[in-house]
């Protein structure tokens, strides 16, 4: 396999009620990524696009082909990938394979979602489509509900009083909002306190509104290419995709005894650790799937950064902050940066690549000397993808 380089990056603002169409957002992020790569649209050989709800929000399937046509990437294979909220990173993994295999040299990856125009009720309904439609949806289970169930399982499993756990979980949202303020693309620009999280309205007990990420509109994109092509095209310090992992699970009842741990994540992480030879302690910075505050704990533990049941203490000690053991979601995470589901994995890639390029100084959020970064994205009941990015091309 060939080494794969992330050449250029693009990112729209994540927001409520974008005035742009999904195709437009994707096109704008894509052109930004292509220009950032010193390329023209006609240099792109193929496109891999994460998108989930275009059909429901705008009556638009296959956003990939319309956006590529709009930006002048004419007639290329431009396919939409769907793995619920992990669609973006799944598209990146797919693109990686095509370049690593030698089939293509220069490809576009992207993701887009326009969800807020649906309103909360329809958006909630469509997100529920990531659960089992026959054996779960009948109960009215939603995704905050899914993670709410995991919250109580977590409290029981690790013998934590729920009140203590909720205070620890609130710290996740507090930290994410702090960094969301510093992200020019971020959706929510407001600091919050532990007290505000704990007193926000209940959504799915024991989760409150501020334990939950928002519905979002936005797009992100990147150009991937072979190492050889990168040398010819750009003098920029390369960032490589060195490890990839992807695993899936079925419905909650089918994951039963393993919960609240998510086996798909642990297997996916093993894949990318194995591919790179890295261990969790080698990772300098991480963007993980904090769709709900408890999800950050389960993810950070599943990726091996903290012992099961100990992530809350880690957040209390600042271990997940800049200067801590493993800075997590310095972009503001899904909670504050926003979570346009098809775009999220690509947005995570954007932020980790910027960290590894050392370009986050201007936002005041650079993790000094970051050379190894990880992204982790979760879709539906159990489609979990991760990537390890490096400056050294392991």
């Amino acid at each position: 396999m060939r080494k794969v380089v992330i050449l250029g990056l693009g990112h729209t603002k994540f927001c409520f009620n974008s005035p742009k169409t999904g195709v437009e957002m994707l096109a704008e992020a894509s052109v930004e990524a292509i220009l950032d790569s010193n390329l023209n649209p006609r240099d792109i050989q193929s496109a891999y696009i994460g998108n989930v709800l275009g059909t429901f929000c705008e009556g638009q399937a296959t956003v990939s082909q319309f956006a590529c046509d709009d930006i002048g990437c004419l007639n290329i294979p431009a396919i939409r990938y769907e793995g619920a909220c992990a669609s973006g990173s799944i598209a990146v993994r797919e693109a990686f394979m095509w370049v690593a295999s030698g089939f293509y040299d220069v490809v576009l990856v992207g993701g887009v979602e326009k969800a807020t125009a649906m309103g909360t009720s329809l958006a909630t309904r469509t997100f529920c489509m990531g659960t089992d439609s026959k054996y779960e949806f009948g109960t009215g289970l939603t995704f905050p509900g899914f993670f709410a169930l995991l919250t109580r399982l977590y409290a029981t499993q690790y013998n934590l009083p729920l009140s203590r756990l909720k205070e620890q979980m609130a710290l996740v949202s507090v930290q994410s909002h702090k960094y969301g303020m510093k992200n020019p693309h971020g959706q929510i620009k407001q600091e919050i306190s532990v007290d505000e999280v704990l007193k926000s309205m209940p959504v799915c007990t024991p989760l409150n509104l501020h334990d939950c990420c928002p519905f979002s509109d936005g797009a992100a994109a990147a150009v991937l290419c072979s190492e050889e092509a990168a040398r010819k095209i750009s003098s920029k310090k390369p960032v490589y995709i060195s490890g990839i992992g992807l695993a899936t699970s079925g419905k909650m009842s089918s994951q039963y005894k393993y919960l609240p741990r998510l086996r798909a994540r642990e297997l996916a992480a093993q894949q990318s650790y194995q591919m790179t030879g890295f261990k969790p302690e080698d990772v300098d910075v991480c963007e993980l799937h904090d769709c709900f505050s408890i999800a950050s704990f389960i993810a950070a533990e599943g990726l091996g950064f903290f012992e099961p049941g100990k992530a809350g203490e880690a957040w209390e000690k600042g271990d997940a902050d800049i200067g801590g053991k493993i800075p997590i979601n310095i972009s503001g995470g899904l909670k504050a940066k926003g979570h346009p589901i098809g775009a999220t994995g690509v947005s995570q890639l954007y932020h980790i690549t910027k960290q590894l390029r050392g370009e986050m100084e201007e936002n005041g959020v650079q993790v000094d000397g970051a050379r190894v970064g990880m992204i982790d994205t979760l879709g539906g009941d159990g489609c979990i993808c991760n990537l390890i990015l490096t400056t050294d091309g392991i």
Partner: protein
């Protein structure tokens, strides 16, 4: 190869308060809700068995937001139960005021019955769902 217990049949039984599962002829464990393969050993030699519906509450969440068209159900409580026969089952906890629910409920014994969600624009018909009541 056909499903031994397809959704339609499981659904029909649950509407009559009968909880069906699958017993694995390779390892003896029970799978419920049904799958094509045993959830323990992935064996394909399964037979239909009727379950007691007895179990203990593992987790629950009262929903104050609902998907489109289901606002009339709010607040409703989704719960995970470990059945005496082993499998975990997702359903709704009923007959108890959500405001009175706390972690003290975890581990309590429950029984299972069936109720029907009539379906919505995106469902292809009614869906029976397990409902759990605390055993006094």
């Amino acid at each position: 190869m056909d499903y031994k217990l397809p959704f339609k049949e499981y659904n029909k039984a649950l509407r009559k308060n009968k909880l069906l599962g699958l017993k694995c002829n390779d390892c003896g464990s029970i799978t419920c809700p049904p799958k094509m393969a045993c959830q323990e050993c992935q064996g394909l030699d399964l037979e239909i068995v009727e379950l007691t519906g007895q179990g203990k509450l593992l987790s629950f969440s009262t929903h104050y937001i609902a998907p489109l068209g289901r606002d009339n159900e709010i607040p409703y409580t989704v719960a995970l139960v470990e059945l005496d026969e082993g499998p975990w089952l997702l359903g709704n906890l009923i007959d108890i005021n959500p405001r009175k629910m706390d972690m003290g409920l975890i581990g309590q014994k429950v029984t299972t019955a069936g109720r029907v969600f009539p379906g919505d624009t995106y469902s292809d018909g009614p869906i029976a769902r397990p409902v759990f009541s605390l055993v006094e």
